[in-house]
């Protein structure tokens, strides 16, 4: 494929090329290197900042990055305290991690769509997807981890029997147990599915719109491009926030006593 040809020459090829992940291996061992690379890179940056702030934390007047992170923690903690009657040690860090990570991964969307792939192309890498959240693997990885945690809390709080019972009696009472089981199962499975697909869908379409804008003549691009980018800042933040809030809600629902 000739990557240096103008984008408008072959729009379908251009878009398909951009949606092609950089992958190695086959079958189960297929690894999307770009997704892994960028998500781990962003996580690493956050971890380094977190480590530096955490090492030099002071309970006096906070300064600089500590201030930023403290207000973030306060914000997440407020949501957690609203949702959880009992204090829970893990939900806060999960919420904060999700918010920061998703926000940063989404923000990769604001880097001009051709910039990093072109640079990679010059270095001999011909496929690159820079936004990890446009890869369903990333979104499902998070939502499935949360789903497993929800199951853990369900079993821990209600007991295995209690958890199974909640499948049988909810929402129509014990006499419609089979219907209840199917409904609850769908409801439970819909949670991680919708969580992952919402983020993936939003980011994927956002990326797609950027690609379509990139197909326009260069003198038109700045207007829709900047408008969509400005709107996308909202989407990025909102999706990160929604993902975090829903995570907190799901875990809180899972750790409620059976009623």
């Amino acid at each position: 494929m000739d990557n240096n040809a103008p984008a408008t020459d072959n729009p379908v090829d251009y878009i398909q090329h951009h949606l092609q992940p950089l992958a190695v291996g086959d079958g189960f061992w297929r690894i999307n290197i770009d997704t892994m690379f960028f998500s781990i890179l962003l996580a690493g940056i956050v971890m380094i900042i977190a480590y530096r702030v955490g090492k030099r934390v002071s309970d006096g007047a906070p300064t600089g990055m500590q201030n930023v992170l403290e207000s973030l923690i306060d914000f997440v903690n407020g949501l957690v305290k609203e949702a959880f009657p009992k204090p829970n040690k893990i939900v806060g860090p999960i919420g904060l991690t999700i918010f920061v990570w998703v926000l940063l991964m989404n923000a990769m969307d604001l880097i001009p769509v051709d910039l990093l792939p072109k640079l990679a192309d010059m270095m001999g890498i011909h496929y690159l997807k820079v936004v990890p959240t446009t890869d369903p693997h990333t979104t499902f990885a998070m939502s499935l981890s949360i789903f497993l945690l929800c199951i853990y809390y369900n079993v821990k709080i209600k007991g295995f029997g209690g958890y199974m019972k909640s499948f049988m009696v909810h929402p129509f009472g014990i006499y419609l147990a089979p219907v209840n089981f199917i409904l609850t199962l769908v409801e439970e499975l819909a949670k991680p599915l919708s969580l992952a697909l919402r983020l993936f869908g939003n980011m994927f379409t956002g990326e797609l719109v950027f690609l379509l804008i990139a197909l326009l003549p260069w003198y038109i691009i700045p207007i829709p491009g900047s408008l969509w980018a400005i709107f996308h800042i909202l989407v990025i933040t909102l999706q990160a926030f929604i993902f975090m809030v829903l995570t907190i809600m799901y875990i809180s629902m899972a750790s409620e006593e059976s009623h």
């Binding site: 992958a23 291996g25 934390v57 906070p62 403290e70 990570w101 499935l144």
Partner: protein, 155 residues
Amino acid sequence: MNVTATLFGQMITFIVFVWFIKAYLWEPLTQAMDSRTKKISEGLAAAEQGQKKIEQATIEFSTRIDQAKTQASSIITDAESKSKSIVEEARLAAREEAQKIAKTSSQQLEQEINAAREKLKSEVAAMSLLCAEKIISKEIDKKMHDKIIDEVVNK
């Protein structure tokens, strides 16, 4: 999407990320925030206590000053009255002493007068005896006469 190693890789990344954030950021920072909250509330309480102490000290200070003032004035009045009484005492003592001196001197005078009178009496007696002796020296025994004269004198 297929279930691939990417999914599990991302899950592992996510779990490690959460663990890291929890261990190195969330816990130290929430602890610091809690301890700051505690510090601030303690500081405010301490400030309030200090204010109260200052008020108390001011009150105590003024009462002490009042006490000292009254004490000082009472000491002054005491001293004044004491000095007056000392002066009075001294005056009385002086008067008494003067009276005593006057009394003893008058007594002495009287004694001396008495002694002189006694002496005069005996001299008069001796002289009259001498005269009488001279007058009736040959007629009367001297011893008899002495006896008589003594009786007279003693009377």
